[in-house]
Amino acid sequence: MDPDSELELTNSLVPAFVLTGGASLPTENELSRDSLVAVTAKGLEARIILPEAALIRDLLSSGRHLPVYEVAARIQVPLGVGRALLTQLCDEELIVARPPIPKATQADRALLARIRAGLQEQLGA
């Protein structure tokens, strides 16, 4: 029998807070909603027990950075729960967080021009 199947404790009857493994919500400063996260080498190898944490690891295993929003949406937990889980994984160094989606300044014309060119290329508009 697959030992992991015993860990399938999650269904719609389990309140959302159970998913965080008892961790409380992170403070505003820890991981913002649009921080970008990626899995670490340690995270790839670690044996992860909490099913949602394992889902996060699988989601990030391609090596891509994803924003906290997207992780929460994909593992189908509310954002607050996603942030709590991710903060916990960060503390355990299983994932790393990059600063939020970088701020655009109005002066950044080169970037805007690049975005415009990219949109035209991608969308044929």
């Binding site: 929003y69 949406a73 509310p78 607050g80 989606i101 970088p102 109005q106 014309r109 949109l119 508009a125």
Partner: protein
Amino acid sequence: MKVLVVGPFGVGKTTFISSISEIEPLTTEETITSLSARTDDLSATPEKSTTTVALDFGRLTLYDDLVLYMFGTPGQERFKELWEDLTRGALGALVLVDPRPERLKQSFAVLDLVEQFGLAYVIGVNHFDEQRTYPLDEVREALSVSPETPVVGCDVRDRASSGKALITLVNHLLSLD
């Protein structure tokens, strides 16, 4: 990079994002403690007042090192805390409106918020009515937005048309300097 797609419920935000996004648009939710004069008392109140707001999310990779994230959210005063987070660092907003006279007024609250947060924005007039089109000038006048603010028609079901609205936003940002 981040852009916001805002507008009242049912205006086509999710459809817009799904037209542009390279992934199926994702919907997540955020629970927000409602702000009220009694906020300080809430810890002692058993029926703590919270509300859930849906957020649509999509992304489009423009280049290897440049990804556009799209966030769709309804604009309601009570979700201001979320707006603060969403608007931080955002390039600007596309405000989708439904031009039918009875629906247009639903956009006022969103426009108020966008202006309050100092976001650069363009108005995207979604094509709702097969029977008639609404002249963009009339929509502009009805919304009383400034003459510098672009108002574009767009069909959110169409990728190129939605893309044009986004490019209008970028062009507008480029013209602001």
